[in-house]
Symmetry: C2
Subunit: 527 residues, 2 copies
Amino acid sequence: MTTRPKAPDSAPGKGWVERVTLTPPSLEDNSGDADRLARELRRRLSTDAVRIELPLLRRLPDLLRSANWTLRCVVFKETGGWVVTRAMPAGDAPSAAGLAVDLGTTRIAMQLLDLETGDILGERAFDNPQLSVGPDILTRIHYADRSGGLERLNALVIDGFNREIGDLCTETGISSNDVCLVAVAGNTAMTHLFLGLNPHWMVREPYIPAVNAPGILSARNLGLKIAPSARIFAFPNIGAYFGGDLIAGILYSGLHRSPETALLVDVGTNAEVVLGNENWLIACAGAAGPALEGGVSRIGAMAGPGIVDRVAIDPETRAFHLHAIEDEPPRGICGSGFIDLAAQLFLRGMIDIRGKLVPDACGERLKQIKGAPHLVLAPAEESATGEDLTIDQADLDSLIRSKAAMYTILETLTGTVGVAFSDISRFYIAGTFGVFIDPDSAITIGMMPDIDRDRFTPLGNSSLGGAAMLLTSRDALDAVYAVREGITYLELNVNQDFMNRFSAAKFLPHTDASRFPSVAPRISQWT
Amino acid sequence: MTTRPKAPDSAPGKGWVERVTLTPPSLEDNSGDADRLARELRRRLSTDAVRIELPLLRRLPDLLRSANWTLRCVVFKETGGWVVTRAMPAGDAPSAAGLAVDLGTTRIAMQLLDLETGDILGERAFDNPQLSVGPDILTRIHYADRSGGLERLNALVIDGFNREIGDLCTETGISSNDVCLVAVAGNTAMTHLFLGLNPHWMVREPYIPAVNAPGILSARNLGLKIAPSARIFAFPNIGAYFGGDLIAGILYSGLHRSPETALLVDVGTNAEVVLGNENWLIACAGAAGPALEGGVSRIGAMAGPGIVDRVAIDPETRAFHLHAIEDEPPRGICGSGFIDLAAQLFLRGMIDIRGKLVPDACGERLKQIKGAPHLVLAPAEESATGEDLTIDQADLDSLIRSKAAMYTILETLTGTVGVAFSDISRFYIAGTFGVFIDPDSAITIGMMPDIDRDRFTPLGNSSLGGAAMLLTSRDALDAVYAVREGITYLELNVNQDFMNRFSAAKFLPHTDASRFPSVAPRISQWT
């Protein structure tokens, strides 16, 4: 049992377990058992609406008397009131568990938490079972329109949840019936498929989700095999292209609570960026190209054993030093490794400011494969596959487009609100990408602005972290709604201005080298 | 298809069907479909909380587009917000039905209504299937404590509902899936058994129901085979001995809306009385004895064919004129018939002021049966059973106790608030009893106070009527909660004072004959 790592700015806040002691009934105060409990909870929760569902209502009279009128109640705040999802006698016996979920298109991560202590009881991560239908979300959205397609996609994810929850419960000795709160953070399309909503209209102009704020659902309606009264909180979306996972990320980063302006970046096929502080938040999302997404580009891979995540090139000898995860023989390169590689190639003069391979500098590492020049990172005898591990110009061009898009998005967003990069106190990078990326390399290629390296902060799985926070803090739920209501979504208008900025960013690090003062001095000079 | 009879003081009010036309989405307003509908409903309903359940959420995007953004929504007000239980395209197609239920211990009555027009689509009345367990509620309450007893009682009533709803739907051509609102008015114990709550503690000091205000339940949780999202409103109780059926009765009578003080009486094993006006309401319940309850006393019967409901005795000849329902040969006498009989016997000198049979005056009508004198109402050759239809002194004594209890309760309640009987503008009598009773006879025996006869108003099935009002008026729901919150329940303290008043009321019409000035002049004088 581990303690939940503190989020960058976690609030202490009250959790969802409320201990109540009721005055026993008398001839003078003969209100009903449920009415008595609701009255006390209304007082303690400062609300005028408390709902007690039928299954608990049926157990309540005996429970209250056997527990001598003192209970621990799991409560949750719904639209327009509070609900009691579970009640237990007071004492030290195991209470109730909550499940935090990062519902990714590719991977799903879960944490089982003790709702009272916040302790992490167990964790799981597994491939999204919808991968069997299609790796990318657009394929699935189209599949949902087929007869039975939506139902199949929904069943895949719900069945996957039930299987993994079952395993998690077995591992941790928790009864699945004790799981009475679930927080799910996913992108807008995944949230639709999880709820059995057709995402058809969200990919067609004017891009309308079936729902942005699904409210609070119950396990029995969704088919989840946990406590039937358990409440399911799906993080609300801002719109079709800005999902609940990002809201969870904002929550986890604490962006919305900080007096200083900070920035949160989540990089995938889309780059999603949020800028702001306790007073305002502005967000945008834009296509960053596939170069950084595992499994999509020719060589791009998800981080995993044998995947190159660090590259150094000797300034003197131009010898390559590849680090592969778990020190296994290299078999691919992930986004952060590729950024490292590009930065090193540029610093060593092996690619020019356009990102083009420089044959003279690459020397013997350049090989013609199928008529095109490839740069060999690891020769066949050192690689895991028995073939040369290479990149070609197209891979580099793709990376350059991605980094240019990223920078242009950052430039546009900060420019819109008149914030200079130097004013950004913290630069949060979400996900595995954030954990592996070397900010210095990202700056060197001009993907990220040239600010103090120590302002870059990897967040890890901020979507899962935000979901876990929601399970343990009432303030977090209020914050989610406040963030959703308060955020300004900047529709990226891909106009001539944007394209001009994008073109200027397609150089290493930028056509305007003065923006990256720390880069030029480190470029190796060759004679 | 008949139109719902107007309740004595029915408010026009708005119903639960709300027509909404949404602005179609655009790039400028790209909120989600459900968010768009909720926003418009929040505006129209003046609320900040509207819930849309998952099944509707799933259908909504296609429904909105096929209905060209105009819908009829069935809404209902829950604890802390509103819920949409159904949405249909606008137009004249059948909309949605509601079911009003009077959940009696002995009989259950149902009305199926069109929620939009308020038209009654069909009606049913049937024996409470729990009669197979026991005729009286106390037997059932004890049975609920047996292993599986509560579940069996609950299943009996739920299965009965489902069977009768099915028949009602077949008769009227309504799909059971179109029934999306149910209002159930029953006494506290029946409400418990309907919801599957054990009434164990409500019959043990300090008499605590599991719940007084069960809130709004959903059909799927109760096992009702109607629209799964349908909401079930169980009228709240005041306490163990003052149930939701009475609240429905108050609603139907309009007691709570009238500037003039009125009184509502519901007579069964318990006499339940409510006194008040738009400013205040006070209620009490007391044992009235079984004499007036069909099926309990030896000769008492439910109103039905062959049951004597009117009695006249010729002042000259003392000849009996019995009226039996549907003019069939007499086979029993109901409560109102018995009151008529007692009044006539008293006026003709055949019983004295203590209610004792006067042998001289009864003459040949007195017969010894099993050693006790019986008064023959109808000889064997005229009765439906082929045996003499008789009453004996014990029957009369039982009636005297009941009428004395009734009067004492009325005297105590009015006395508590200092209202004279003459100040009561209207005297509502609920149920079948109210329809059949002759106020003049009730006054003659001193059961009801001696006020203008035309102030007595039969209400019919006010419990069913109140439930039907709730289905067609939002104001009615607010009124129910206001009545429940505002009503004062007077605990009848059976102390020496009460017993003294009770003893004084055990005479015909009363020891203090001046309270019944209209009675004395009509007593036949015999020489």
